[in-house]
């Protein structure tokens, strides 16, 4: 084989490689006319290299983000440097349909793009090369992961039935509030709320009605609390509320409103009407609480007093 033949062979291999590589390769002149268009681009766009040759890229693909792409290309040409764009900036540059009927969950192909300057024999930039990477798999798994994490985060802190914070999450918030108090000295109060005679409701009217009462209580709490207040379900029929920036009187007032609203409701059951009343114990945070557990215990003893004093009332720990 002569050296000329060898060169020709090498050229064919190279051309084959460029043709069959699974990334998109496009060469543009400085007027954005297509000078090269490999197999990947042909297959995904449906346009052959001969059809696009020497035609303006933006005429061929009117949906391209022209101003954005022109700006990037100009930077590459003037500064003679490569530039990169990520699917996080724009999910796609060329709008190629996702071609996977079974495993494809995205509508379009997600793309990363590299724009490289191509210099002529005199060293000045004469053309640019766009390299288009299909990153659909990466993008969709990253998005799925983000969604799953978000959902997990939500699930791990919420009580499934009521949508309020669960006990673990709520106690963490309580501890944080306790620490904030000792650092910044802001007011804070905690309330424990218990549905009166809940066991009797369950026994007389059944668990379904009991659940309804729980939901009604949670809903009423939410409706009567402020943005910063943190309601949680503490256990069966017991609830807790963290009230930041609130003193004893303020907390009593808010809790009494919840108690009052609930007492106006009733749940109809075949076995008779159920009146909902609740007892509430409130404790404002003071130096006397050595730990958040002790603070909670103060609210619990106030709740006990409310029960003892005949239920359907709010008592503040003193």
């Amino acid at each position: 084989m002569s050296s000329e033949d060898a060169d020709l062979h090498a050229f064919h291999w190279l051309a084959d490689m460029v043709e069959s590589v699974e990334v998109g390769l496009v060469v543009l002149d400085l007027d954005y006319r297509v000078q090269a268009w490999n197999g990947f681009m042909e297959n995904h766009s449906g346009l052959t290299a001969s059809r696009v040759h020497n035609r303006n890229l933006f005429d061929l693909f009117p949906e391209l983000p022209k101003a954005w792409l022109v700006r990037k290309i100009n930077t590459v040409v003037t500064l003679n440097t490569r530039t990169f764009t990520s699917w996080e900036q724009r999910p796609w540059v060329f709008r190629f349909r996702n071609t996977r009927p079974v495993t494809g969950i995205e509508e379009y192909m997600y793309q990363n793009l590299t724009i490289s300057p191509l210099s002529g024999p005199h060293g000045s930039v004469e053309k640019v090369c766009l390299t288009v990477y299909d990153v659909t798999d990466m993008a969709s798994s990253k998005r799925a992961l983000e969604q799953a994490n978000e959902q997990l985060m939500r699930l791990s802190v919420t009580d499934r039935a009521t949508g309020l914070f669960n006990r673990v999450a709520w106690e963490n918030l309580l501890e944080a509030e306790y620490e904030r108090y000792f650092r910044y000295g802001h007011h804070a109060a905690v309330a424990l709320l218990d549905i009166d005679h809940f066991k009797t409701i369950n026994d007389t009217h059944g668990h379904l009605r009991g659940d309804e009462v729980i939901l009604k209580t949670a809903q009423t709490m939410r409706e009567n609390l402020r943005q910063a207040d943190r309601p949680g379900r503490f256990g069966g029929d017991e609830f807790g509320i963290i009230l930041p920036e609130t003193d004893a009187e303020g907390a009593r007032c808010i809790c009494d409103r919840i108690r009052d609203h609930l007492s106006q409701f009733s749940v109809d059951a075949p076995s008779g009407t159920i009146q909902i009343t609740v007892s509430v114990g409130v404790a404002a945070l003071t130096e006397s609480a050595q730990s958040y557990q002790q603070w909670l215990k103060q609210a619990d003893s106030a709740l006990y007093q409310a029960k003892e004093a005949g239920r359907n009332q709010v008592i503040v720990h003193s």
Binding site: A67, F84, S86, E88, Q89, Y133
Partner: protein, 345 residues
């Protein structure tokens, strides 16, 4: 009378490179100053013919030296030698009285051409002789001829980074149409778990966004990171002209645009100086709106000593800045040390 040349640079490597770049058969008396103040003291004490002056130095930078030379009318021809290749930097020093400007890394041909242009060097110059240039090396202060231990290596990296930083900032200046103030790069060895300390002036309360890009070649590998505070991203978006655009992802555009050119130019110049061809991966967003410590959190379980280079680019007149952090793997260090041997021998 012997011709007297003073070389002022904070980097021992740069002083050495400058001394070597002088024409081989020319043997003037060579003096060295490690910072601007020292150079001025030497200029006041005795007469020097030529001063080769670096711009970015701690203590007193090259601009201040130029200003003082003019003010005190010190009789010396100053040639600025700098990695800061922004046209504005060049224009400024010429206006301040410098005779010429030489880009780092210093090329002997360029130095000779400049010396001839100003008639400092003539073919019939009596000071030409055929002595080999290791005589010049004998004139170097002893601190530089001692072993190239950790200190020598750090200094070497600092100077390489200094030149690469200049190349990168030139592109950034042209993109933003502004003048970039260059610092002295900071180099340090840090354990992987302490990486968050690499951004020395980080504001612990501010939210940062970062892009990273890996590079590798010939045994040298690492990652470049670009960090911005969110407030500075908004300023840069305005400078880049993104404020007119509708996109909600302006911050990402700014991150990607600036990191593309800074990483590209820095890594290319870094590789060129070491005779390495480094390939760059695709950049990715490390995170947005987080404290620095969270962005640079220690993820892997591996204990590794990393070589860090930190550069804070400040954009003059805009109170805007970003931090470029180049982190080299532990495995790269022996390869770099080898390159250092080639460069200084």
């Amino acid at each position: 009378m012997t011709f007297r040349v003073l070389i002022c640079d904070d980097s021992a490597l740069a002083r050495k490179q400058m001394a070597r770049a002088l024409p081989k058969r020319w043997t003037p008396e060579i003096g060295f100053a490690e910072h601007g103040r020292q150079a001025l003291d030497m200029l006041r004490a005795s007469a020097w013919d030529v001063l080769f002056l670096d711009l970015n130095m701690p203590e007193m930078d090259g601009y201040s030296v130029l200003g003082t030379i003019t003010r005190e009318d010190l009789p010396v021809m100053t040639i600025v030698v700098s990695g800061d290749v922004q046209p504005q930097a060049q224009a400024r020093v010429l206006k301040m009285g410098a005779l010429g400007f030489i880009r780092k890394p210093t090329q002997p041909e360029q130095v000779e051409a400049l010396l001839r242009e100003y008639g400092i060097l003539r073919d019939d110059d009596g000071e030409w002789n055929d002595q080999p240039d290791d005589l010049k090396a004998a004139g170097l202060p002893t601190s530089e001829t001692t072993e190239h231990g950790v200190v020598g290596f750090q200094e070497f990296l600092q100077e390489i980074a200094n030149v690469a930083m200049g190349q990168a900032s030139d592109l950034m200046a042209r993109l933003l149409n502004a003048f970039i103030k260059l610092p002295v790069p900071k180099v340090a060895r840090l354990a992987r778990s302490e990486l968050y300390m690499a951004i020395s002036a980080a504001d612990n309360r501010a939210a940062y966004s970062a892009v990273c890009q890996g590079f590798t070649g010939a045994g040298v590998a690492g990652e470049a990171l670009l960090l911005f505070t969110d407030a500075h991203v908004r300023d840069l978006a305005t400078l880049l002209g993104y404020d007119q655009e509708d996109s909600g992802e302006v911050a990402l555009e700014v991150l990607m645009d600036l990191s593309s050119i800074l990483f590209g130019a820095f890594i290319k110049s870094f590789g060129d100086q070491l005779n390495l061809k480094l390939s760059l991966g695709h950049p990715s967003v490390l995170g947005q709106h987080q404290p620095v410590a969270a962005l640079l959190e220690h993820h892997g379980g591996r204990q590794e000593e990393l070589q860090c280079i930190e550069i804070r680019y400040e954009i003059e007149g805009h109170q805007t800045q970003c931090d470029l952090l180049v982190v080299l793997t532990e495995d790269s260090i022996p390869h770099l040390e080898q390159q250092l041997q080639f460069l200084v021998e």
